[in-house]
């Protein structure tokens, strides 16, 4: 699909809900791709820092990293865990490989390029895997490793935003070949800004979990 699909969002069907200004802003290409661009750049920067830290720790396991602030906020503790090199090399390298692709997609799209549907589906699939991986790491850091690293949290946050925007745009442009009923429901869902609400609730739940588990160490 080289031009933008006339998706349900563009159909002059009887949508009972007048399109809200919030949705109009969110639905614009600029908002979608700029959010994705900023998030993926943030992820790339964080991955870069984490990769350098991984090299320094490989050289000296007790290296004094700038983000070893206390027992809880400690990149070193996280980076020295087996979970941080799940595939045999530091996870951060994956960010160095994948985030530039997202950046490219975002910049190209801002410039007016429309990717074929199969391309966007592939991007969605791969990024979903990355998203699941990011949350697995977050969970392990919280409940198994027992330490948080600020750069990892930035990756978790930015990955969430990229995943959110990627899914949003793929539903908006009807790229996923979902059953018509599901597609219609999804479209109505995002037109009502309910997806945004889910995102906000999701991020707040994460924040609450961190504060509940580590509040004393963070603020005391």
């Amino acid at each position: 699909m080289t031009d933008r699909a006339v998706g349900p969002a563009d159909d002059p069907v009887d949508d009972p809900v007048a399109e809200s200004w919030l949705h109009r802003v969110r639905d614009s290409n600029a908002a979608v791709w700029v959010t994705m661009l900023v998030s993926s750049v943030a992820s790339l920067v964080a991955s870069f820092v984490l990769s350098i830290d991984a090299l320094r720790l490989a050289e000296d396991p007790n290296a004094d990293l700038g983000c070893n602030i206390n027992a809880v906020i400690s990149c070193g503790t996280v980076a020295n865990s087996w979970q941080s090199s799940l595939l045999g090399f530091p996870n951060a390298f994956l960010g160095l490989i994948t985030e530039p692709v997202v950046i490219t997609i975002a910049v190209a799209s801002l410039a007016g390029v429309r990717f074929p549907r199969w391309f966007m589906v592939a991007a969605q699939v791969v990024y979903t895997i990355g998203f699941v991986f990011a949350y697995w790491l977050f969970y392990e850091a919280m409940f198994d490793i027992g330490a948080l690293c600020p750069w990892c949290l930035l990756v978790t946050f930015a990955t969430t935003l990229v995943f959110f925007e990627m899914t949003y745009v793929n539903i908006r442009d009807d790229n996923l070949r979902l059953p018509r009923r599901v597609q219609a429901a999804m479209t109505s869902f995002i037109r009502s800004n309910l997806d945004l609400m889910v995102l906000v609730v999701w991020l707040l739940v994460l924040l609450l979990a961190v504060v509940l588990k580590y509040g004393e160490a963070l603020f005391a």
Binding site: P16, A71, V72, G146, L194, M197, V201, L204, V205, L207
Partner: protein, 255 residues
């Protein structure tokens, strides 16, 4: 268009409008519920932050950084146990959270007991706390080492037994470690007098633990357990019974 047809169209339109109104109402309800959830989460977060800030104030006195050396211990971090005139000195650097130290203790504890008993060796226990980060923010390494130093200070005769008991109940690395209450009850079971156990909470030796940890690494210790026999690092197998005993006994034979 026939009259009937027009009526049907009107009916359909009416039905559509009703459905639309219903949908709009549902959406409003969902939005309100969502807003309530969001506000609730924000309140919970603020509450948790405030509680955490308060909770920190009435917690145990913080490590003041002041170094108090336990009686029957020294400033370099050693707590000696056993016959002072024994021919061989065995130094053990360890962290109460370190799984390898637990394995070392499980393998060699009995043998070391015997070597202490028969006067072959004196042991300098050197607890350090570099694994504080492995106890989910509870700094188990420091708490356990402080308890051990308190026992060395107030009830040195129970120090060895308490040390062994802490490893017998060693928590999993990365867990929250043993609670202060659990450490206290282990100490009581190991024969530490109650008045000494009550002093664990004073955290008197936290500064000492921190300082000897630093000194241990400054002196070239790479990790735990590190065992030295008469000052020489023992490089043999420390996780099975035998090699360490042989090395100690042969050192004793050389005297």
């Amino acid at each position: 268009m026939s009259k009937q047809g027009r009526a049907r169209t009107q009916e359909m339109r009416k039905a559509q409008q009703e459905a639309a109104a219903r949908q709009a109402r549902n959406r409003r309800i969902v939005t309100v519920v969502g807003a309530v959830v969001i506000v609730g989460l924000l309140v919970a977060i603020v509450w948790a932050v405030v509680a955490a800030t308060r909770g920190g104030d009435d917690k145990a006195p913080p490590a003041s950084g002041k170094v108090v050396v336990p009686a029957n211990g020294n400033a370099s971090g050693a707590v000696p146990v056993g016959e002072p005139n024994a021919p061989v000195t065995v130094e053990i650097y360890y962290d109460y959270m370190c799984p390898a130290c637990g394995a070392f203790e499980a393998a060699n504890g009995g043998e070391l007991d015997r070597l202490l008993e028969d006067g072959t060796a004196r042991i300098e226990l050197r607890p350090i706390s570099f694994l504080d980060e492995q106890s989910s923010g509870t700094e188990y390494s420091t708490r356990a080492a402080n308890a051990f130093a308190t026992v060395a200070d107030g009830a040195p005769d129970s120090a060895w037994d308490f040390h062994a008991a802490l490893y017998a109940h060693q928590p999993k690395e990365g867990s929250k470690g043993l609670s202060d209450d659990e450490i206290a009850s282990i100490a009581k079971d190991a024969g530490v007098p109650a008045d000494v156990v009550d002093r664990f909470g004073d955290r008197t030796f936290v500064g000492w633990v921190g300082s000897v940890t630093q000194k241990a690494f400054d002196s070239g210790i790479q990790g735990t357990p590190t065992v030295k026999i008469d000052g020489e690092v023992f490089t043999g197998d420390v996780y099975s019974v035998g090699p360490l005993t042989q090395a100690i006994e042969s050192a004793a034979g050389d005297q």
